[in-house]
Symmetry: C2
Subunit: 209 residues, 2 copies
DNA sequence: CCTTTAAATGAACTATGTTCAATTTATCGG
DNA sequence: CCGATAAATTGAACATAGTTCATTTAAAGG
């Protein structure tokens, strides 16, 4: 079969992304194969490779959509006055997202690309940065107005740390104490880290002790 | 070919593990395939499956060895008096391990087993717990003698958080500010979290603000 | 030396991502 | 309306995976 007029190029792209997302949600990354997605949308495997360089890029696009969803959930939780309160609300929203869209969240991090693959595209990093921006705005009051760098770094530390807790928690790689404790751990992290920021003003960048 | 007497069953196991470790160190998880390991040790693929249930279990054993190495590096850094000093030394050793044995460290976390796989064996979790024990002993002075649980939880929070920083840093998934900043982030985490523990004594388990 | 038993083998099976010559259809010039 | 051109779609084919198991081979026991 050749050139159909069933759908435009862009429509097929969207269908493929939607199908990929569905597969991800129900069966995780393992369920997301080129042939299955192609079947889902009623096109042949080769067609997928007209629209995406490879499966990795398809997944990166799905992950981009996930980051947008995450932003939409997190952004409204920050009111910009009290860091502790904002962070608690934000963390709750994050954990809720993780509980509801666990497989999508998982793909954000489980998807490891080959070492020789192109670096993550700028538009993707921008989406990550946008989510980080929410966290930055919550932390903002803790830093002097001119210390944007310190705030940005603190946001990255918190974000990455939180990721570690959720990630190890979900994959069972950490002998965890109770089932509830991923949330407990996340709370412990945020509260103590922020308390630390308050006690050690501005020089949060650490020299020898 | 059938029953050789070149090596005992246990010898082949060790050869396979050593070969797997070598492959991991040079090319990461992608370079560790059943056929290649079999070739390396001069046996056929099938033989590997006499010794290990499957490739996953082979990798779990290599990871176990990595955890032992890590323990050996971390354990001597804790002197048991000053938490801040101990943690700084321990963190330095951890980052050194990461720099030198990055691929082995990576396999500890990159290796995601299928959802239907058996849970991680107890002996493996025990090795994880042993490494965590080092961290616990460094944090010990910060907690009342009877609060073992609080100390254990703090150790897990720190450990998992640190993992998040290193993991996201290495995979380029976090738009990082400078090249140096993984170490900076790790220091920021440890120092602020510990400062937080000091300021908010014992009730580090977090209720509503 | 023959029998028994255990180890070692490697072809075969299923499934993956990816490629590309061949095919089919739309589009456009006349 | 037709024929040529261009574009999209196809699916068989390739390389590589993990895993299995009937068959082969060598050691051990009597």
């Amino acid at each position: 079969m050749g050139r159909r007029s069933d759908h435009s190029r862009e429509e097929i792209r969207q269908m493929a992304l939607a199908a990929a997302q569905r597969r991800l949600e129900s069966g995780g990354l393992a369920a997301l194969t080129a042939r299955k997605v192609a079947d889902d949308i009623g096109y042949a495997v080769g067609t997928l490779y007209n629209l995406f360089d490879n499966l990795d890029m398809l997944i990166v696009h799905v992950n981009g959509a996930t980051l947008d969803m995450l932003y939409d959930e997190l952004a409204p939780t920050v009111r910009g006055r009290n860091p502790e309160a904002d962070l608690a609300a934000m963390l709750a929203a994050y954990l809720r997202f993780l509980a509801e869209k666990g497989q999508l969240w998982g793909a954000l991090f489980d998807h490891r690309r080959a070492g020789d693959a192109a670096p993550l595209p700028d538009w993707y990093l921008a989406k990550v940065a946008r989510v980080l921006g929410v966290l930055e705005s919550a932390l903002r009051p803790l830093f002097p107005t001119d210390d944007t760098a310190g705030c940005a770094q603190a946001a990255r530390v918190l974000w990455a740390s939180l990721h570690g807790i959720c990630s190890l928690g979900e994959t069972g790689k950490l002998p965890v104490i109770t089932a509830q404790s991923v949330a407990d751990m996340a709370n412990s992290l945020v509260e103590n880290y922020v308390a630390g920021l308050r006690v050690r003003p501005e020089n949060s960048r650490a020299e020898g002790e």
